[in-house]
């Protein structure tokens, strides 16, 4: 009788192997997809443009320039003046020639602030400029 009781308590453990397999798969998925570094300015709210071509595989040479509703220019989270932007773009242009420029401008930004970026680009010889817009906003 006593022997039977002991077996009962020991036998309540279930097979953990499949669960651990699944959990490890999930963890590996999250590790691979996580992006800890925030490279975009979170204050910028883009306007919707559902008919434009989707940005899937962005050209790695693309330079993303952000401008918020106050007209502040940021690049990879660093705020810069128009002169600094011109220096950065000029340096890159000297190294690699023409490269794609993507402007992420807030929908409330006045055109004169966007214009400063476009003028800086055209001054060094970049005529094709792209604007980023939203197709679908995720949480």
């Amino acid at each position: 009788m006593a022997h039977h009781k002991q077996r009962m308590t020991e036998g309540c453990e279930c097979d953990m192997t499949p669960m651990i397999d699944v959990v490890f798969q999930l963890i590996i998925f999250f590790i691979v997809t996580i992006k800890l570094e925030e490279t975009h300015n979170p204050d910028i709210e883009l306007e919707y443009a559902k008919h434009g071509p989707v940005i899937k595989e962005q050209d790695p040479r693309t330079m993303v320039i952000e401008v918020d509703q106050r007209g502040w220019i940021t690049m990879h989270g660093a705020r810069m003046s128009q002169q600094q932007l011109a220096q950065v773009l000029q340096g890159r242009y000297n190294r690699m020639g023409v490269f794609p420029v993507l402007i992420r401008a807030d929908h409330r930004t006045r055109h004169q602030d966007v214009r400063r970026i476009m003028d800086t680009c055209t001054a060094i010889g970049i005529w094709r400029i792209s604007f980023a817009a939203l197709i679908e906003k995720k949480m």
């Binding site: 953990m16 651990i20 959990v23 490890f24 999930l26 963890i27 999250f30 590790i31 997809t33 996580i34 992006k35 800890l36 883009l46 306007e47 919707y48 443009a49 559902k50 008919h51 434009g52 071509p53 989707v54 940005i55 993507l102 401008a105 807030d106 929908h107 409330r108 930004t109 006045r110 055109h111 004169q112 966007v114 214009r115 476009m118 003028d119 680009c121 055209t122 005529w127 094709r128 400029i129 792209s130 604007f131 980023a132 817009a133 939203l134 197709i135 679908e136 906003k137 995720k138 949480m139």
Partner: protein, 134 residues
């Protein structure tokens, strides 16, 4: 002898509880910090050379001139709202998609008007877009 062997096997069992605890903590951390990326579109324009009086008469044909100001859009002196502009551009694009669209933006116009206009052009397959600033 066979009894002893059995006991040894039982002792080799690992304690799984701490590992499962840690693994679940990690899983919860990753789930909480996961942020899905927004799906973005790209609207291409060209910024013409800053010499406005280069060849003014050569480009008059097949050209749609739209001014964007802080309250909306103007084509040939007539004001348009977004729906009217959409209809107008759709009608023009049904004749020709090769038409050049000249967009002139005033400095105080919000950027969303330009994006809305570029979206309409993208919808109608107009790709020859130039943006000027006033």
């Amino acid at each position: 002898m066979p009894r002893k062997k059995k006991k040894k096997e039982g002792g080799a069992k690992l304690e799984m509880t701490p590992m499962i605890d840690v693994v679940f903590q990690l899983l919860i951390f990753f789930i909480v910090t996961l942020k899905e990326q927004d799906i973005l579109s790209r609207l291409d324009v060209s910024r013409p050379a800053p010499d406005p009086d280069a060849k003014p008469e050569e480009i008059i044909q097949d050209m749609l001139d739209i001014t964007v100001y802080n309250e909306g859009f103007v084509i040939k002196g007539r004001k348009y709202n977004l729906q009217e502009l959409d209809r107008h551009i759709t009608r023009i694009a049904s004749f020709s998609r090769d038409i050049s669209v000249i967009i002139r933006c005033t400095g105080d116009s919000p950027h969303r008007f330009l994006v809305q206009l570029l979206d309409i052009c993208a919808k109608n397959g107009l790709t020859n877009l130039s943006v000027f600033s006033l």
